[in-house]
């Protein structure tokens, strides 16, 4: 007789890490229930929680959608934490000629793109990585010039694929994605101050609030026991 599982709604980008963590959670204490995941875009998950989805814990890749739920009183605000951070990197095809460089305000991305190359990243209108990219380009003072030259992908993986396949000479993605890909090379990392920190807010939903096990899970996920795993997948501790 197994305990009722806990349902975790998590951004698709957290999928591998969370799957890797699950056995550890089960082993940590005999009373720990199994986990039931639903991985999708943060937006879809937030909307589903709004419509009464049976989620106990929400792990978003995006602060605004967590705000959205908080405004509607669908999460327990006290439990909200942002334990993970990610870095924003500029990537180029692995077999290309692009050399590593230090990204700064003066870096001429347009020149790197060439006359008709596009810069692949998430759609700044709704994909988090795109929003961070926009902020970073703004900081570099190149947003005006580069915005028409963006290849706006549906999600960060698609943006990455565009670079892997050589469709775009450059792309802006998370460090975690770049690290896992054989097809791209990191050209540079955007300085920490060039964009708002890339953080992943976690919170217990109102539904999961009553269950102590949910809090335990949240604590486990943000605790030291999982740090190594998160790191292995490229995430860093927020604020570190």
């Amino acid at each position: 007789q197994e305990a009722a599982p806990l349902t975790v709604f998590a951004a698709a980008s957290l999928q591998d890490a969370l799957r890797a963590i699950e056995p550890a959670w089960r082993d940590a204490s005999p009373g720990n229930p199994p986990l039931r995941f639903s991985f999708a875009a943060s937006s879809a998950l937030a909307r589903q929680i709004e419509q009464g989805a049976p989620a106990d814990l929400f792990a978003s890749a995006d602060e605004p959608w967590m705000d959205y739920l908080q405004q509607r009183n669908l999460i327990a605000p006290a439990t909200r934490v942002s334990p993970l951070a990610n870095a924003l990197v500029l990537v180029a095809p692995a077999n290309g000629a692009a050399r590593p460089l230090a990204l700064g305000r003066g870096t001429d991305l347009a020149a790197l793109l060439g006359p008709d190359g596009r810069l692949a990243t998430g759609d700044p209108a709704h994909v988090p990585v795109g929003r961070y990219a926009q902020a970073a380009l703004d900081w570099m003072g190149q947003w005006q010039a580069l915005s028409p030259r963006l290849a706006r992908a549906d999600n960060v993986r698609s943006a990455l694929l565009l670079v892997e396949r050589g469709e775009a000479p450059l792309g802006i993605v998370y460090a975690t994605d770049a690290r896992a890909s054989q097809g791209v090379r990191v050209v540079g990392t955007f300085p920490v101050g060039s964009h708002p920190p890339v953080t992943y807010p976690f919170a217990v939903t109102r539904r999961g609030e009553a269950d102590a096990r949910t809090r335990a899970l949240l604590a486990f996920l943000t605790g030291p026991g999982t740090e190594e795993t998160w790191r292995r997948f490229g995430f860093s501790r927020a604020g570190q």
């Binding site: 349902t7 709604f9 698709a12 980008s13 999928q15 591998d16 039931r36 995941f37 639903s38 991985f39 999708a40 879809a44 998950l45 909307r47 589903q48 709004e50 419509q51 009464g52 989805a53 049976p54 999600n155 993986r157 975690t176 994605d177 690290r179 896992a180 890909s181 054989q182």
Partner: protein, 235 residues
């Protein structure tokens, strides 16, 4: 195909896909035939509106359909709350919900095919049935329906195939819960969202393809038999 080849979770996605696609076809077939008949034969105000409504899931992105379903059938939505209060039925995040979303998405495909089948039925045969004492419904069920069945079959096949691939509406409405709503396309999506998941995605896509091939072969067989029954071939 050994269990090693597909992970248990993937097997469950395969089973679930088949179930969802089949249930979606089962649910939408009769209403689709009704809609097709109304649209083809009926003369009533609002016919064009109905036509457009039927096509709606085709013209707006699947995600928006899923979103609309969420608004309507979510436990807070007007229909969903009624279902929940009266029957204790919850569609969102369940296999039934995935089937509903799939059914809505493939509805226009069935309607179109059925209409095409219906338009091919010789009205002279219905007239003849009338003179032989068959009333409206009788005529419909005994003459029109069997004669339009190639269209219905084609619609069902297309809908089944499309149901196997339905993604946006399902993930938005029913979420991506393994064993309950994670159908094959959702599993494929999940795989693509994982660094290095291309291989798994490709493998699952191949499974999808295999399923589709089997479905088509079956449909082909049925169609051939039906063609004979409809007097197309030699008696």
């Amino acid at each position: 195909m050994t269990d090693a080849w597909l992970a248990p979770e993937e097997w469950s996605a395969v089973r679930l896909s088949l179930e969802v696609a089949a249930r979606s076809v089962a649910v939408s077939l009769a209403p689709a035939v009704l809609a097709a008949v109304l649209l083809s034969r009926g003369r009533f105000p609002g016919r064009t509106l109905l036509d457009a409504l039927v096509h709606l899931p085709l013209v707006v992105p699947p995600v928006v359909v899923g979103w609309g379903l969420l608004m309507l059938f979510g436990v807070r939505g007007p229909v969903g709350s009624l279902l929940n209060d009266w029957f204790g039925v919850r569609l969102v995040f369940t296999t039934e919900g995935a089937a509903l979303a799939t059914a809505v998405m493939s509805f226009p495909l069935i309607v179109r095919a059925v209409r095409l089948g219906l338009d091919g039925v010789d009205p002279g045969l219905e007239a003849a049935a009338g003179t032989l004492g068959a009333g409206r419904l009788d005529r419909f069920f005994v003459v029109t329906l069997p004669l339009m069945s190639p269209g219905i079959l084609a619609g069902a096949v297309t809908a089944f195939a499309a149901g196997l691939g339905e993604f946006g509406a399902v993930i938005t409405f029913a979420s991506n819960i393994p064993g309950e709503t994670q159908t094959l396309p959702l599993a494929i999506y999940s795989a693509t969202q994982t660094p290095g998941g291309e291989a798994a995605a490709g493998r699952l896509a191949l499974v999808s393809f295999g399923l589709a091939v089997s479905g088509l072969l079956l449909a082909e067989l049925i169609a051939r038999r039906m063609g004979r029954l409809l007097g197309r071939g030699a008696g």
